[in-house]
Structure formats: C-alpha cells, structure tokens
C-alpha cells in the first residue's frame, strides 16, 4: 500500500468516525471527571466550580493509601491466579477436538453473561454456613459441623477469580490456537517430556500474550466494586467501593472524581511498568 501524507481536509475523512467516538465516549467524560476533581464540594447541593487541591490532599492519607495499595494488590493477585489457571486450561482445550472446544467456549461465554450481582449472590450462598459448601464436607464426614467461609479475603479472591476467568480464557484462546503445534512435538523429539516441553517452550513462546493478558485482567479486576462488598469485610473493600460510596451515598462528587483520576493514573503506571519490564526481557532474549 502506498502511503502519502494527507493534503486536503478530505484526506482526513477516514479517521473522523473513530475520532468522534473517542471524543464522545472517552475525552469528554474523562475531562469532565478531571475538572470535577478540582471543584469544591457544596454540602447543601452538589458542587460549585472552583480550582482547589483539597480533594487530592484528603486522598493523601494513610487510610486511602492503604485502600489504594490493597486494591492494586488484589487486582494483581487476581490477574496472576487467573493466568496461572487459564493458560494450561486453554492450551489443553486447544489440543481437544473442534466439537469439544465449541462446547467449552459456549459454556465459558454463558458464565460471562452472568452479572456481578448474580455471581456475588451465588458465592454468598455457597460460602454460607446454612447452605454452603461445608455442608457437603460434613455430609462426607470430613468436617464435624458447617462453617461460614465468608466474609474474608479468600472469599473475595474466589469470587473475583471466578468472574475474571472466562475473560482470561477468551483473551488467551485465539493466540494459543494459532501457536504452531509442531513446537511441542519438536521439543518432545529433542528429549523433553510433555510437561517439561510445556514450561520450556510453550510458556516462553507465548510470553507477550501472557503479559498482555495479565494487564487486561488486572485492569478488569481493578474496577470490581460489588464482589468485595458482598464477600469481604470493610478492610477488603477496594478503592472502587469507596469511589461508589463517595459519589452515590455521600454525594461528594469532587472527591470521588479525584479518587477515580488517581486510580486511572496508578493503573496506567502499572501497565506501563509491565510493558517496560516485558520489553527489556524481550531485548535480552
């Protein structure tokens, strides 16, 4: 294809549609949020136009710092667990027959159609004392009496991994299906057992896909605000929970906006860091 620099205004026409979409659905809402984050809160009404740093100042405390680091830590742990579970699963799925693959993918898609609320309530029941999973253990004689498995960190983690796992699989699937199947066979003819070949050849060959998937799941998990409330204690609440709380229940839009801006900046920083580390590793190899 020949590429010439655009000369007339009409030459820019093809990018008009994406530009408008980006403007309407990203630039305008995000700019509004940044602007609101500098506004002054009006306890009687909503907020008044101003340019103050109070909202950011309030955020710079040990409490919010703790919540922010917990949110990021939780999203990282969810991303890592999801990829560790989804990668071998997707690889095994790619080895199965076409029909088996379709059945699994349809099942995964159906999990994806469940809302966060339904997932939350389902796990609340499963972790409860009266109707939960421990009753099965009691019935099997492995436990003397049923326990409640929530609210705690494990419950939050389980719920969020459950929610993010289908996304992880669907992101990994196209790349893994395209992987040259003879790579694994070659490793086997060179004296490497199937398990070893998987870790020695398949995982490193898919390094960039794995990095991209980690980032995607991290960002996805960072936005979760219902599951931590339903399955965790207040100390397991993420920044997204506090943002919702400030915006909706405390009617403090400027402070909620400031926290949201901070969260976006922090997650961008993490994504950038991951890409940087990935690029450096790629350059070494």
């Amino acid at each position: 294809m020949r590429r010439e620099p655009p000369r007339s205004l009409a030459d820019y026409a093809p990018i008009a549609f994406p530009a408008i979409m980006l403007l309407v659905f990203f630039v305008i809402p995000f700019s509004t949020m940044i602007a609101v984050s500098f506004f002054r809160r009006d306890p009687a009404g909503f907020y008044s136009r101003d340019f103050i740093f109070d909202n950011y100042e309030r955020f710079l405390s040990a409490f919010f710092g703790g919540v922010l680091s917990f949110s990021i830590m939780l999203a990282i742990v969810v991303a890592i667990i999801c990829v560790i579970l989804a990668f071998p699963f997707t690889w095994l799925l790619s080895q199965a027959s076409r029909r088996v693959q379709i059945v699994w993918l349809v099942a995964i898609l159906s999990v994806l159609s469940l809302s966060e609320v339904i997932i939350g309530f389902a796990w609340t029941t499963l972790f409860s004392r009266t109707a939960g999973l421990t009753n099965i253990l009691v019935w099997l004689g492995l436990m003397s009496e049923p326990h409640a498995l929530m609210p705690n960190f494990g419950a939050v983690l389980t719920g969020m991994v459950y929610q993010a796992l289908p996304y992880t699989i669907l992101v990994l699937y196209p790349a893994i299906v395209r992987l040259d199947p003879t790579l694994m066979e070659a490793a086997r003819t060179l004296g490497s057992s199937p398990l070893r070949s998987f870790f020695n050849v398949i995982v490193p060959a898919m390094r960039s896909t794995i990095t991209a998937t980690l980032i995607m799941v991290f960002v996805f998990a960072l936005g979760s605000y219902l599951l931590p409330q339903m399955l965790g204690r207040p100390q397991h609440w993420t920044l997204s929970v506090l943002i919702t709380d400030q915006a909706i229940y405390q009617s403090n839009m400027p402070f909620a906006a400031a926290m949201a801006v901070f969260l976006v900046l922090m997650s961008l920083a993490f994504v950038g860091l991951t890409l940087l580390v990935g690029a450096r590793k790629g350059a070494e190899a």
């Binding site: 003879t182 066979e185 070659a186 086997r188 003819t189 490497s192 070893r196």
Partner: protein, 341 residues
C-alpha cells in the same frame, strides 16, 4: 540385525487406513526417501516412527529393540519438521543447545558442541543470532543441527526442503546427502519430489494409498517400476495400454501378450528411450502434434491411434520435427517394462 525394521505397521483414522501393513527393513546407515503424492500416508508413517503418532497395529524395531511403546522423548531420534519448529524465544545457539540442556550437559560442553554443530552445517559464528534474523536456508541448517545435537540413532526429516526456492533446494539436497554419508546415520526423509529422492536416497520407498508400492534403489525404481502407479509417479513416462492378446495401439506383439498375461496391462517406456525414425522404420507410426523445444532438450509429442506419446531428444541428435510431421517410433525392447493390471 542392526538397523530399523517396520513390521506390519498400520494406522487407522476412524475407518480410513492412512498406513496399511507396511513392512520395511532399513539397514544401518541407509538414506531412505519416503516418496508419494500428498495423502499417501508417508508423513503418518514418519510420525509413527518418531512416536508422535501411535500405530494401530504393528511394531517398530531398532537394533533388535522394540520401540513401539517408547515415548517420543525417550527414543533418541532427531527430527526436522516441515515448519522447522525453531523455538522463537531462543537464539540459534540456544535452539541447538536445547536438547543438551534438557539432558543436563554442562555449559562448557554445550558451547563446544554448538560450535561443532554450526561448523558441521556451515554456519560458524552464528550462535548469538536471533532465529527471526535468519534466511530460509539458514533456518533449515539450524533445524538440522538441533536435530543432530544428541547424535541420534535415527534422523527423520518431514519435507525438510519444501520451503526453499528451487535452486537452494537442489544445493541443500546434495549437502544433506553428503552430511548423512559423513555421519553414517540412518536417515528417513519424507518428500513428494522425485528428483529430491533420486538425488539423496539409497532406498526409495514409493507409497500410494497407505501402502508401499515399491522399495528399491532409485535407479531400479526408475528403470524397473513395479506397477503403473510407480512408473507414472517417478519421472516422465509413456504408459501405453497393452491388451492381453498382445495388441499395442493397433499393432500385435504376441511376445508382449505372453508377458502381460490374459488381463492385459501397460507398457512403460521412458521418453528418453524412444527413438524417432522415418515412418516406415518404426515399431509404431504417428503424427507429431506439438514440439516443446526447451533448448537443452526437445520434447516431441506424437499421436498414435489417439494416444499421446512423448519422446525426449537433445538438439545434437537431429533438427526438431514440426507439428504435422509423420514419424516412426522405435521402442527398444530392453528399455520397455511390461506392467500387469
């Protein structure tokens, strides 16, 4: 007996016989070409030998040891794949050292062996090059070096040269043959290119529909094909219908009738064996329909009783005919092969 034996090797996919009771004995140090059209089962046969495909029936025996149930990674066979399957995350040296690393060979020894192998495939000093920065021919050599790193007992190659352009392919054929002879390693190559097989092989195994049609030296496969399929697949040939009573294109040859039997068959004559003579002198007569003058050789197509016969001559022998000429065709008895069925 040392060497490789395939005994009644069969592979069925559902109700399809991909490979049907193959029996083959390959002496130690032989270069074998599995040759056939696509879908003839040659790749499946190679994959069974490598252990990548489990045989439905039969046995694979190497040096009197039954290898049939041995997993691929314990077989000690080197294999080069059609895709080459070089590991994209490793550089040239690391690719070649991969099998050594798996075996726990120490670092210094790995380095020494990698250099030795790169020397062997004529790529000295390229150990630190990323795989993506290699040309097609260089990748080919790296894949060969990697497969030979463990000094395998058996060297398997699945259409190894198919990705290369014609000139490089011919050069690599010669090189591969010389490499095999210097190492004395038993080698099996899958190919659909009969020239490749003729260039490299001690033993050509022609396969069709999952069966071995003929296994013999290249020249014997060419000169004495066992059936019409082999005669047609190896090189250019004229397959002339021969009736049981000895009728060949309207002429009667009772002695050929005796040889072919009552059910009839074909007479195979190579184009370069046919001599074009004046119309009254030939075994058969016909009309020239087309002349392809390729400079080095001239192909003359002659129509005899509705059957097209091609003769190949060199310009030195005589001036080309032109379409419409009447010619006689002389079929030398010693180079004609009678094929039954």
């Amino acid at each position: 007996m040392s060497g490789l034996q395939l005994q009644d090797l069969t592979k069925r996919f559902g109700s399809v016989n991909a490979v049907a009771s193959v029996n083959l004995s390959v002496p130690q140090g032989t270069f074998v070409c599995l040759l056939g059209p696509s879908g003839c089962g040659k790749t499946t046969l190679l994959r069974m030998i490598a252990g990548l495909e489990e045989p439905t029936e039969g046995a694979i025996v190497l040096d009197n040891k039954d290898m049939t149930g041995v997993p691929t990674h314990q077989r000690d066979f080197g294999m080069v794949f059609q895709s080459l399957a070089l590991f994209p995350h490793l550089n040239v040296g690391e690719n070649i050292a991969y099998p050594l690393r798996i075996r726990g060979v120490d670092k210094a020894e790995q380095k020494r062996r990698v250099e030795e192998l790169l020397e062997l495939v004529r790529l000295p000093g390229l150990a630190d090059r990323p795989v993506a920065k290699l040309s097609g021919g260089q990748r080919q050599r790296v894949a060969i070096a990697r497969a030979l790193a463990l000094r395998p007992k058996l060297f398997l190659l699945d259409e190894p040269l198919s990705a290369l352009d014609a000139k490089l392919r011919e050069a690599m054929q010669v090189e591969l043959r010389q490499l095999q002879q210097s190492l004395g390693i038993t080698t099996i190559v899958v190919t659909h290119d009969q020239r490749e097989a003729m260039t490299m092989a001690d033993l050509v195994v022609v396969m069709g529909e999952g069966r071995i049609r003929q296994a013999a030296s290249p020249i014997q496969v060419y000169r004495k094909p066992s059936d019409a399929f082999v005669a047609d697949f190896i090189g250019m040939t004229n397959l002339l219908p021969l009736k049981g009573n000895g009728d060949l294109l309207g002429r009667s040859f009772p002695s050929l009738g005796m040889a072919v039997g009552p059910r009839g068959g074909h007479l195979s004559v190579r184009p370069e064996d046919i001599r074009l003579v004046s119309p009254d002198q030939g075994t058969l007569t016909g009309t020239v329909t087309f002349v392809r003058d390729l400079g080095g050789t001239i192909e003359t197509f002659v129509d005899v009783e509705g059957t097209s016969i091609v003769a190949v001559t060199t310009p030195r022998e005589r001036t080309p005919y032109v379409a419409g000429d009447n010619v006689g065709i002389h079929l030398p008895v010693e180079s004609c092969v009678v094929l039954k069925g």
